[in-house]
C-alpha cells in the first residue's frame, strides 16, 4: 500500500524532498459498565480509589475473571475494521514496575491477539481516499493514575482506571501526512462510535494515540522511527507529526542519525522531546497469564455479533449515495457522525413523505451545522428537529416560501424554540410527533402566522411591478439598454412585497413588461 510517494505529500527540506511515514497505536477505552477483569465500575471522575476492587489493587491472592462484554466489544470492533477475528487468543503478562501498575504486570495480548489484520478506508479530502491497514487489535488493562503535582516530594496514586479495558489498535505504517493521520483517527473514531465499543472522548482519555513517525527520501527504505506517546487530541496528533518530521529531517540534513526512542509532544512549546526516564532498557518478560485460560469462541458467536452490528459508516455512505442520490462527499460528511446521519434520514423520511434529499442534505450540512457549531453542539444535539427541516424543505418545494424566506423561518425556529426544547438525541426518534405537536414550532405555522407566504398571485405581483416601472422611468431606459439591470428591479419588487413575491414570477413579469 502507498508504495509510491505522492509528490503533494512530500516535505521540502533544504537538500530535497522527504516523505513522512506514520503508523499509529490507538488505545481505545472499551465501553463497558465494569472493568476487564473485575466488577469495579468504569465511570469517569469518581473519588480516588472508589472504583477499585481487590483485584484492581492487586491484593494478595486475587484473581482476574474476564468480562464477556469486553470480549464482544473487541470482536465487534474487529468486524468493523474488516479484520480477521481470531477464534483463539491468549492473555499475556507484560511485566514492569510502576506505582500505577499494582500487579507489577499489565495483562495484555502479545503473541496471539483477539483480532488480526484489517483495513480502514479513509477520506482525506473530497477527492482523495486512502486505505490504512490494521495490523492487529488486542485487549489489555489500563493502568492507574499518578498525580505528580500535589507535592514536591510525593506522588499520589489513584487506581480508578486500573484494569479498565482498552483495545490497542495498531495500524500499519500506511499514512504519509499529518492530514492522512488526522483523517485516519477521525474515521477510526467514527467506526468505534457507530459500533458503540468506545465513546471516542479524547478529553477524558478514552482515545489516546501513540504515533510512530519516521522520514525518508522518496524511494528509500523506511527510516528509523520515533514513537510519540499518549497524544490526546486529533489536533495535537497532526501538530506532533509535523514538528517531529521537521525535527528528523533537520537531523538527517545535518548529517545526523535518528535514534529510535520514545518521545513526548509538548503542545505548549510545540515540540517533541525524549522521554529519557522511560528509555531504560525494557525487558517486559511476556508470558501467558497462568491465571487465565486461552480465550476461545466459535464462529457462530462471531456471526451472531456480526448480525447485530449496526450499519457502519462506509455502508451507510454507499446507501446514501445510492438511495438519496447524494454526491460522495456530501454523503461522507453526513455519515461522519452517526447521529447526524440518523438525523438526516429522519428529516428525509419525515412524515412518510418523499422530499428532495439533496436539499435536505444541504440544509443540514449548511445552516443547521453552522448553527450547531456556534453552540458547540452536534447537529442532533441542537433543538432543531428533523421534522422542522423537513417542513422547511417542503415549504420551499411547494412554492410557499423562497429559499431566502426559509432562512428567516429557520432563524425564527432557532430563536423561538431555544427555551422550549432542550436538545436531546432521543428527540430524533420522537421527532415525527414532537416536531408538530406544539412542543416545537411548526415551520408552516410560523409562515402562516407571520404572513411570510410567498406571493404567487400574479395580479398582486403585477401591481407591484407596474408601480416600480412607473416610478423609475430612467431606470427602465437603462435596463432596456443593459439587461443586467433587471436585478435592481427584482430587488425593488421583493422589497415592495416584503420579500414574499415568488422570485420566478417577478422575473418573468419584469422581463415581459420591460420587453427584455
Amino acid at each position: 500500500m502507498n508504495t509510491h510517494a505522492k509528490p503533494s505529500k512530500l516535505i521540502k527540506g533544504a537538500t530535497g524532498d522527504f516523505e513522512v511515514v506514520i503508523g499509529m497505536e490507538i488505545h481505545a477505552q472499551v465501553t463497558s459498565r465494569s472493568k476487564l477483569f473485575s466488577g469495579a465500575s468504569t465511570v469517569f471522575g469518581n473519588e480516588p480509589n472508589a472504583n477499585v476492587s481487590l483485584v484492581d489493587a492487586a491484593m494478595p491472592g486475587m484473581l482476574p475473571v474476564i468480562n464477556e462484554e469486553c470480549v464482544a466489544q473487541a470482536i465487534r470492533t474487529g468486524l468493523g475494521l474488516e479484520a480477521q477475528i481470531n477464534l483463539r487468543s491468549v492473555f499475556d503478562r507484560k511485566n514492569y514496575f510502576y506505582p500505577d501498575l499494582p500487579q507489577g504486570y499489565q495483562i495484555s495480548q502479545y503473541k496471539s491477539p483477539i483480532v488480526g489484520e484489517g483495513v480502514v478506508i479513509v477520506d482525506v479530502s473530497p477527492t482523495e481516499q486512502i486505505e490504512v491497514g490494521i495490523e492487529r487489535l488486542h485487549l489489555e488493562q489500563d493502568a492507574g493514575k499518578s498525580l505528580h503535582d500535589q507535592s514536591a516530594t510525593e506522588s499520589f496514586v489513584d487506581l480508578n482506571r486500573s484494569g479498565v479495558a482498552l483495545m490497542e489498535i495498531v495500524s500499519k505504517p500506511d499514512m504519509r501526512s499529518s492530514d492522512e493521520a488526522r483523517a485516519y483517527v477521525t474515521k477510526l473514531r467514527t467506526i468505534l462510535r457507530y459500533i458503540g465499543s468506545c465513546d471516542g472522548n479524547m478529553e477524558q482519555g478514552s482515545l489516546r494515540a501513540d504515533v510512530n513517525v519516521s522520514v525518508r527520501r522518496p524511494g528509500e527504505p523506511l527510516g528509523t522511527r520515533c514513537e510519540i506517546k499518549n497524544v490526546n487530541s486529533i489536533r495535537f496528533i497532526a501538530q506532533a507529526i509535523e514538528v517531529e518530521a521537521r525535527r528528523q529531517i533537520g537531523i538527517i540534513e545535518d548529517g545526523g542519525k535518528i535514534d529510535q526512542e520514545t518521545r513526548l509532544f509538548d503542545p505548549v512549546r510545540g515540540e517533541t522531546r525524549s522521554m529519557r526516564s522511560k528509555e531504560e532498557a525494557h525487558d517486559y518478560r511476556y508470558f501467558p497469564d497462568p491465571d487465565l485460560l486461552p480465550l476461545e469462541f466459535d464462529q457462530d458467536y462471531v456471526d451472531a455479533l456480526k448480525a447485530e452490528l449496526p450499519e457502519l459508516p462506509d455502508a451507510k455512505k454507499a446507501r446514501f449515495i445510492k438511495d438519496y442520490g447524494l454526491p460522495a462527499y456530501d454523503a461522507g460528511v453526513l455519515v461522519a457522525d452517526k447521529e447526524t446521519a440518523d438525523y438526516y434520514e429522519a428529516a428525509v423520511k419525515f412524515g412518510g413523505a418523499s422530499r428532495d434529499a439533496k436539499l435536505v442534505a444541504n440544509w443540514i450540512s449548511g445552516d443547521v451545522a453552522a448553527y450547531a457549531n456556534t453552540q458547540g453542539l452536534s447537529v442532533a444535539q441542537t433543538h432543531i428537529r428533523p421534522g422542522q427541516i423537513a417542513g422547511i424543505v417542503d415549504l420551499i418545494a411547494d412554492g410557499t416560501i423562497s429559499g431566502k424566506i426559509a432562512k428567516d423561518v429557520l432563524a425564527i425556529i432557532i430563536a423561538e424554540d431555544k427555551d422550549r426544547v432542550s436538545g436531546s438525541l432521543s428527540a430524533i426518534e420522537g421527532s415525527d410527533t414532537a416536531a408538530m405537536s406544539g412542543s416545537v414550532s411548526d415551520p408552516r405555522a410560523i409562515v402562516e402566522a407571520r404572513g411570510m407566504k410567498q406571493v404567487t398571485d400574479t395580479g398582486a405581483i403585477a401591481a407591484a411591478v407596474d408601480a416600480i416601472i412607473a416610478a423609475n422611468p430612467d431606470k427602465v431606459a437603462q435596463a432596456q439598454a443593459k439587461p443586467s439591470m433587471l436585478g435592481w428591479f427584482v430587488g425593488q419588487v421583493m422589497k415592495e412585497t416584503g420579500g414574499k413575491a415568488n422570485p420566478q414570477a417577478v422575473n418573468e413579469l419584469l422581463k415581459s413588461k420591460l420587453g427584455i
Binding site: S32, V52, N67
Partner: protein, 95 residues
C-alpha cells in the same frame, strides 16, 4: 548456559531487588547451580509439542458486565504504608 556477574546485576535490577557487591558472587554461584540443574532439558525432543497453556483444558469462564465491586476505598488503602485522602502515596515519580 551460565550467568556472569553483570547479568546477575541486570536481573536483580529487572526484578527490583537491591544486591550488594558482596551478594553478587554467591548469587551468581547459586543461579548457575540451578541453571546447571535444568540444563538437561535442552536434550529433550520437543519438536511439534504444544507448550501447556491450561492445566485442565476447559473453556474460560466469563463474567457478566455488571458492577459488583468497588466503593471500598477505605479498605483498599487500609494496609498502605502511606496514604492520604484515599490516595496511595509514594516517593515522587519523575516522568
Amino acid at each position: 548456559m551460565s550467568v556472569d556477574q553483570a547479568t546477575v546485576r541486570r536481573i536483580a535490577h529487572l526484578a527490583r531487588i537491591k544486591v550488594s557487591d558482596e551478594d553478587v558472587p554467591h548469587l551468581q554461584e547459586e543461579l548457575n547451580a540451578i541453571l546447571n540443574f535444568v540444563e538437561e532439558l535442552a536434550s529433550v525432543d520437543v519438536d511439534g509439542v504444544e507448550p501447556m497453556t491450561s492445566v485442565m483444558p476447559m473453556p474460560m469462564k466469563k463474567r457478566r458486565d455488571e458492577v459488583t465491586e468497588g466503593s471500598i476505598a477505605k479498605d483498599i488503602v487500609a494496609n498502605a504504608p502511606a496514604s492520604e485522602d484515599h490516595f496511595f502515596v509514594v516517593p515522587k515519580v519523575v516522568e
